[in-house]
């Protein structure tokens, strides 16, 4: 293992040229993006520098509950981030979303790190946190898509849902089809990713491993595991979330109570 070639700080400054290029394009074409570019550049540098410090500390943690606690905080953050991407309704879903994400992600991360990779100990932060991060990053998109679809469909197809209710269906029966389509919509992107991987794109994780000097075969083995783990966490996460949140769209006596928020 020889590791990646280090980048000197002076050379790193050179990469600012890329931003200058983008800024020039923005000025020339009057895109009005200069401020955002500047702010974005500062934020990326600051956030990543902070991450480096945090990771150095996190990787030294030897208590499993601290690692899991950090992981849960990352999940909580993700659960609140997706809020902005979902149709606004009277249904509250942050708590059920957090719970189902936490349950499925902790379970899958444990299986990946402890059972498949066999890191010792199973919560080895150097493995557990980055792999957990990948799971969150990918499947929170799936969950946002699935929830948004659930809400939009229940609202747009209210007459159909109520028709079924009026014909003696329970709320579960009346929303069965919509639930199925919501979960499908959430899962399709990660299935598509399985189709394109290695042909259309080389995933970032594999690139990183190869640059760090890993044997490409090892990198590919990791990547295969990651692809499969992402499909699993996407499926488990979106099924749990949609089933839990569906209950909040109906009353106990099988009325559709979901409404679009009017503010």
């Amino acid at each position: 293992m020889n590791g990646a070639i280090d980048i000197g700080y002076g050379q790193l400054l050179l990469s600012l040229l890329f931003v200058v290029l983008a800024g020039a394009a923005s000025l020339k074409l009057r895109l009005g993006l200069e401020r955002d570019l500047l702010w974005g550049t500062l934020r990326s540098v600051a956030q990543l520098a902070l991450l480096a410090f945090v990771l150095v500390y996190v990787f030294r943690i030897e208590q499993w509950y601290l690692v899991v606690a950090i992981y849960l905080m990352m999940i909580l953050f993700a659960a609140t981030i997706i809020r902005g991407r979902i149709k606004r309704t009277n249904a509250t879903y942050v708590l059920p979303t957090f719970l189902s994400m936490a349950l499925s992600y902790v379970l899958i991360s444990y299986v990946v790190v402890g059972v498949i990779v066999r890191a010792d100990p199973w919560f080895l932060p150097m493995y557990f946190i980055p792999i957990g991060g990948m799971i969150i990053g990918n499947s929170m998109n799936a969950i946002a898509i699935a929830l948004d679809r659930l809400f939009s469909d229940l609202l747009a197809r209210r007459a159909q849902v109520e028709l079924r209710l009026c014909l003696g269906a329970t709320s579960r029966e009346a929303s069965h089809e919509i639930v199925r389509e919501a979960v499908r919509a959430g899962m399709i992107p990660s299935i598509n990713a399985m189709m394109g991987v290695g042909i259309v794109f080389i995933p970032g994780m594999m690139t990183g491993q190869i640059l760090a000097g890993s044997d490409p075969i090892v990198a590919v083995k990791y990547q295969i595991m990651v692809m499969l783990m992402l499909v699993g966490s996407t499926a488990l996460g979106s099924v749990l979330v949609v089933l839990l949140v569906r209950r909040r769209c109906f009353s106990a006596d099988h009325r559709l109570i979901l409404e679009e928020r009017r503010d």
Binding site: L163, C166, L167, G168, T170, D253, R255
Partner: protein, 251 residues
């Protein structure tokens, strides 16, 4: 006061069709003076306003309440409350003497059938749509022959069971929607301006079918409409929603 009126004779009808056996034969073990559908002091509102209150009426077998009122007075909302698609805030809703809240909603809605203002057809054939309610019970669905007989009864003999339901006209769809409800053998039928989007001919066809079905079955109806038209179910009661409450009088 209202329950002093006597029951409309149901069994005297001559033209006993399939629906007479299928739907709403009054139970003989229930005392005569218990109405099929009794609404008392019913109110509904949102957190900041009351839409209507003190709504009360009783329907005995075969009776029809025709409900009118200006737009925005809450006629449609009242029907949705009666169908338990909305909760009533105050008051009581009784089906044959049983408080509605103690009947599971899915059973209640099979007995108090609600016809949406615009017919809703799910993707699929006419047959799929007619048999939709059987997805939710263990009851035996009607045979092919029965389905055809029922289609004739609502003057849809030209419609094929295999035909996609979306191909039918709105008027035809509305009659399919009525049949679909009647397969559940309801005791009360809630009609929310079912002719609002129909032309004159389809409107009359629909209403005379409904009137005909009612004559043969003892079905109760709450019919929201602006005006009675010839051939429509003859109202026993006429109710008007006005200034947040309902006035009912015998016609």
């Amino acid at each position: 006061m209202l329950n002093a009126f006597c029951c409309v004779a149901v069994s005297s009808s001559i033209n006993y069709g399939k629906f007479a056996e299928m739907s709403a034969v009054p139970h003989t073990d229930i005392p005569n003076d218990v109405p099929v559908f009794a609404v008392d002091d019913l109110a509904f509102g949102y957190s900041d306003e009351v839409l209507f209150e003190e709504v009360r009426f009783r329907l005995r077998a075969g009776e029809t309440l025709q409900l009118s009122g200006g737009s925005g007075t809450g006629k449609s909302t009242l029907l949705r409350v009666l169908a338990r698609l909305l909760p009533h805030t105050v008051g009581s809703l009784q089906l044959r003497g049983t408080e509605s809240n103690s009947i599971p909603a899915q059973q209640y809605r099979r007995k108090v059938a609600y016809l949406q203002q615009l017919p809703v057809m799910l993707p699929g054939s006419v047959r799929d749509n007619l048999l939709l309610s059987f997805e939710y019970t263990d009851d035996e669905p009607p045979s092919e022959g029965d389905l055809r007989t029922e289609l004739q009864r609502v003057e849809l003999e030209d419609v094929a069971l295999e035909q996609p339901a979306s191909e039918l006209s709105i008027g035809q769809q509305q009659r399919i929607a009525v049949l679909r409800l009647l397969f559940m053998q309801p005791e009360v039928l809630l009609l929310d301006e079912p002719t609002a989007s129909l032309d004159e001919t389809s409107a009359s066809a629909l209403l005379s079918c409904v009137a005909d079905l009612q004559r043969n079955s003892g079905l109760c109806m709450v019919h929201v409409t602006h005006q009675w038209r010839p051939g429509a179910p003859q109202p026993t009661w006429s109710g008007t929603l006005r200034r947040g409450t309902m006035e009912v009088e015998r016609t």
